[in-house]
């Protein structure tokens, strides 16, 4: 056993937009875990027989997290979970305060959990890269959605995999400028990365080799496109002037760090909610301008990403607890988005509710003084959603707009959607950290 002198930093690479806000890492000698007591005995009111720690890591949580995290929210706003060695933050104001607090809490990337955090740089925040994605989505989303909806309804009517997932996949392939013959290869390779649970060693090994395969292929593509003036993401990234030239690793990192879940997940959940709330759906079918209200309420009521992890950069006292350096903080979006302190009748899906912000959230997830559903994984809400013309819209806005376009295409064809088997369509998750969404939506053709 040796005391290691060279401490590898766990922090992710600096965010180009973050610049000076990043907190400098303290000297290694200053670090060390304090040994004096920092706790207080819990009182009965802070615990509840309604929730057992095991539940948070069980199939029950995967199937329906809302009851469990709701119990946490009401009994202990910062719950010390020893089973997962984490602190669960569950109230809306607390969750949003952690998510915007880059000074005290760091985000660890997907690559970090696979020990790949030294592989590649996430280029997703560079303006030309964002622009490359926005341009393709704006140009192609409507046509692709139209075609996929028609195709699905011409077959068995399955729109979760057949439209939502496929639309996201096709757009991603187009953004990268991949040859259509390579799309299946790309989707299955990147799927091995994204579908791997943290605990599953075989999936993990497969994910690591998939990363290598992606990086190798992208290496070739970057070389081929370095000189050209293409508008696809790889060409644009190859032209970036960074401290070292962009390589295949960087493109692979950018691809895996881009949130793949919110776009298809939010569409699938919205369609499930519309199908199970025909009264609301009817109003939206009649007035297509209301689709966006449906999406905003869907991501509040049933967010596809139900929790976001942050890690304490240093010891910090919050929510009546001392969070030690390196503490894992799980921000439960599922609990926050149904916090009765913020939203009236929070368990009800109501696109026309008056207490939900109808704009892109800003800063502390609020705009116009109203709270928005927390949608993690798309980057922090911009302080300036009304972006200058030379900048692309935020990822949040792009995901929202594609979802709205695709939903419009579906409603055009089917009116108020009716499901062949609503029970099979009920949202659930398959693994911890995986999306909580509707997986199988067979729409009855009218």
């Amino acid at each position: 056993m040796s005391r290691s002198a060279d401490r590898p930093s766990l922090a992710v690479e600096a965010d180009p937009d973050e610049g000076e806000r990043a907190v400098p890492s303290r000297d290694a000698d200053e670090r060390g875990y304090r040994s004096y007591e920092i706790y207080q005995r819990r009182r009965i009111t802070e615990s509840s027989p309604d929730i057992l720690p095991r539940h948070l890591w069980s199939d029950r949580y995967l199937d329906d997290p809302y009851g469990l995290v709701g119990a946490l929210r009401e009994h202990g706003p910062c719950y010390r979970d020893w089973a997962g060695n984490a602190f669960w933050v569950t109230r809306y104001d607390d969750v949003t305060s952690v998510l915007v607090d880059d000074a005290n809490f760091e985000t660890r990337t997907w690559r970090w959990s696979f020990d790949l955090h030294r592989r590649g740089r996430d280029l997703g925040r560079h303006v030309p890269v964002m622009q490359a994605e926005a341009d393709v989505w704006d140009a192609d989303a409507a046509d692709v959605a139209e075609r996929l909806v028609a195709r699905a309804l011409g077959a068995e009517g399955e729109v979760a995999l057949g439209v939502a997932d496929r639309l996201a996949a096709e757009l991603e392939c187009r953004v990268l400028g991949l040859d259509p013959d390579d799309w299946p290869w790309f989707v299955s390779t990147v799927g091995r990365l994204r579908n791997a649970g943290m605990a599953d060693p075989a999936g993990r090994a497969s994910a690591l080799s998939a990363f290598d395969e992606l990086a190798a292929r992208f290496d070739r593509l970057v070389d081929e496109r370095r000189g050209d003036d293409g508008a696809d993401l790889i060409s644009v990234a190859a032209r970036l002037e960074l401290d070292r030239p962009v390589g295949g690793d960087d493109i692979a990192a950018t691809v895996v760090e881009a949130d793949p879940q919110t776009l298809p997940g939010s569409m699938a959940n919205l369609w499930f909610l519309l199908a199970t709330h025909p009264g609301h759906a009817e109003r939206i079918v009649d007035d297509r301008r209301l689709v966006v209200a449906g999406w905003l309420e869907a991501v509040r009521h049933s967010p596809p990403v139900v929790a976001a992890e942050r890690w304490a950069r240093h010891e910090v006292e919050r929510f009546g607890q001392l969070l030690p350096e390196g503490a894992r903080v799980i921000c439960s979006v599922a609990a926050a988005n149904r916090d009765p302190r913020i939203f009236g009748d929070p368990d009800t899906f109501d696109p026309f509710r008056l207490d939900l912000c109808q704009r892109e959230p800003r800063g502390h997830h609020r705009a116009d003084g109203l709270a928005a559903g927390v949608v993690p994984a798309l980057g922090p809400p911009s302080l300036f959603p009304a972006v200058p013309e030379d900048r692309p819209r935020s990822r949040y806005a792009r995901v929202r707009d594609v979802a709205v376009v695709a939903t419009g295409a579906l409603l055009d064809r089917v009116g108020v959607p009716a499901l062949a088997d609503p029970e099979a369509a009920r949202p659930s998750a398959s693994r911890l950290g995986g999306p909580h969404r509707s997986w199988e939506l067979v729409v009855e053709r009218t």
């Binding site: 056993m1 040796s2 005391r3 290691s4 401490r7 766990l10 670090r31 060390g32 875990y33 040994s35 007591e37 920092i38 706790y39 005995r41 819990r42 009182r43 009965i44 615990s47 027989p49 720690p53 890591w57 995967l62 010390r80 979970d81 020893w82 089973a83 997962g84 060695n85 959990s113 195709r151 077959a155 399955e158 995999l161 057949g162 997932d165 496929r166 996949a169 799309w183 299946p184 989707v187 299955s188 799927g191 091995r192 579908n195 649970g197 943290m198 605990a199 599953d200 060693p201 075989a202 999936g203 090994a205 030690p324 350096e325 390196g326 398959s430 693994r431 911890l432 995986g434 997986w439």
Partner: protein, 478 residues
């Protein structure tokens, strides 16, 4: 499925199947691990989700063996913790008081309150020394008569001429059937502890609930709420007693009626830490620690010992013929199946162990279960054998034991945080078992009342202690 022939749809559907797969582990034959896959270089893979399966609870050792052989420091990313499983590593970590803080802050205090469990160094020693000496050495030897008396009193209820209501007597044969926990093991350890604490007999009915609930509620476990409730109830009860003992100290006496010293609560009332007497809250926390630590663990030790001995009749016959050998059997039972699985630790600074770098402040599980079944130390570790030559079982040593091929077991830990109740627990189990063996004969496990394994045999102990032990016997009439 739309357009199944379309390669992109096929790729998406394939990804979906992988995404939707959950881990489902069928129960395996004992000693065989479920196949979690193999790395290209032949190393068996380890899926941390196994820890929460029923299969692991009953059949943990083949999985610990994979960790010991291939992942001596295992990082469980999902549960944000590390596991140390080899005997040598666990020993080194337990002795490294500067490098490893004790139980992570707050993990047990939710139930117990502010106790020495979560302290290190001088702060730990000051508190521990206040009552540690009551549980050890001469003070303990002078109390052995009381332990024996208590055992006699309890055993009389089911082995005496007038069996209590909970004893089932077969009218034809006269054989008696009891659940050993209910009849003896649940109550015996705590009555011993009550005496040294100086708690009156009237509270003893609630003690089983207090200690079992508090013990099960530690570490933020599933029963944390029940543990906190029990702790509150204990606090409500002892607050008055503590105030009384501040004014009128109670004493422990030996069999000659001579005063040995103050009982533990009176000692706590009188003691000062850093120049100030302890608050009632602090004293209650210490009582909770003694009650929790002194009850459940010894209950489990007695039941596990008898369960193992009765499944090995020739070894049982040996200890009955020579009751002094119950000591050896006690230690082998603890090595084979102890009631406490291990201790969590947090490292004070970053360490690198077996090539794994553990950042400061990480949660590290020292797995005593695994260390006790480490093939590097104990030959054929799954074999229960009171005659084994590689286990040291004599005088309990804080330093551990490593000489002439014999090692201590890890059930009490080693080093500064060695279980302070180890000595008294040993006396309770050994003396209690000796008295029991003097009073009952022809003892058999009532197999049809016990849980069974997949092959129909008696269920293995697995992790933790058995809950119930149904036995039938014939009383020895003197």
């Amino acid at each position: 499925m739309v357009g199944a022939a379309d390669p992109l749809d096929v790729a998406l559907a394939e990804g979906r199947r992988a995404e939707r797969a959950r881990l489902d582990v069928p129960l395996q034959p004992l000693g065989t691990a479920y196949d979690m896959g193999t790395a290209p270089d032949g190393t068996p893979l380890f899926d941390a989700r196994i820890f929460s399966t029923r299969e692991f609870q009953r059949n943990p050792y083949p999985y610990y063996r994979i960790l010991q052989d291939h992942y001596p420091v295992f990082h469980d990313v999902q549960h944000n913790a590390y596991y140390v499983t080899r005997f040598e590593d666990v020993t080194a970590c337990y002795f490294d008081e500067a490098g490893f803080n004790t139980i992570p802050k707050g993990s047990s205090s939710g139930v117990l309150g502010n106790t020495q469990l979560e302290l290190s160094g001088i702060e730990h020693r000051r508190r521990r020394n206040i009552y540690g000496r009551h549980l050890i050495g001469k003070a303990l030897d002078r109390r052995l008569f009381a332990i024996r008396e208590l055992a006699d009193e309890l055993i009389e209820r089911f082995a005496g001429p007038e069996p209590a209501d909970f004893v089932h007597v077969d009218p034809a044969t006269g054989r008696r059937t009891i659940e050993l926990g209910q009849a003896f093991a649940n109550e015996f350890p705590i009555r011993v502890v009550c005496q040294v604490l100086g708690i009156p007999d009237d509270a003893q009915d609630r003690f089983f609930w207090w200690y079992s609930a508090m013990m099960r509620g530690l570490g933020g476990s599933d029963t944390a709420h029940e543990g906190i409730t029990a702790r509150q109830d204990l606090e409500d009860y002892v607050t008055e007693l503590v105030e009384l003992r501040r004014r009128e100290p109670g004493h422990l006496i030996d069999d000659g009626g001579e005063i040995i010293g103050l009982d533990i609560i009176s000692e706590l009332c009188r003691s000062e830490i850093d120049g100030a007497v302890m608050s009632t809250e602090e004293i209650t926390s210490n009582i909770a620690l003694i009650v929790g630590g002194g009850g459940e663990t010894t209950r489990g030790a007695i039941l596990n010992l008898w369960y193992l001995l009765l499944q090995h009749p020739e070894q049982f016959a040996t200890v009955v013929a020579d009751p002094d050998r119950f000591l050896q059997a006690f230690h082998e039972a603890l090595r084979h199946s102890s009631s406490v699985g291990g201790q969590p630790r947090q490292n004070s600074h970053e360490i690198t162990l077996h090539g794994v770098t553990i950042p400061a402040g990480s949660l590290i599980h020292m797995v005593d279960f695994a260390a006790n079944h480490d093939e590097r130390v104990f030959e054929e570790p799954e074999r229960f054998d009171i005659d084994r030559v590689d286990l040291y079982w004599e005088k309990l040593l804080r330093s551990g034991y490593d000489s002439e091929g014999r090692r201590n077991h890890m059930a009490f830990g080693v080093g500064p945080h060695l279980c302070p109740g180890a000595w008294i627990s040993q006396q309770e189990t050994v003396v209690g078992s000796q008295v029991l063996a003097e009073r009952i004969t022809e003892v058999r496990i009532e197999a049809e009342r016990m849980p069974t394994d997949i092959d129909g045999s008696l269920a293995p102990i697995g992790t933790g202690a058995i809950r119930e032990l149904w036995i039938s016997f014939e009383p020895i009439t003197s």
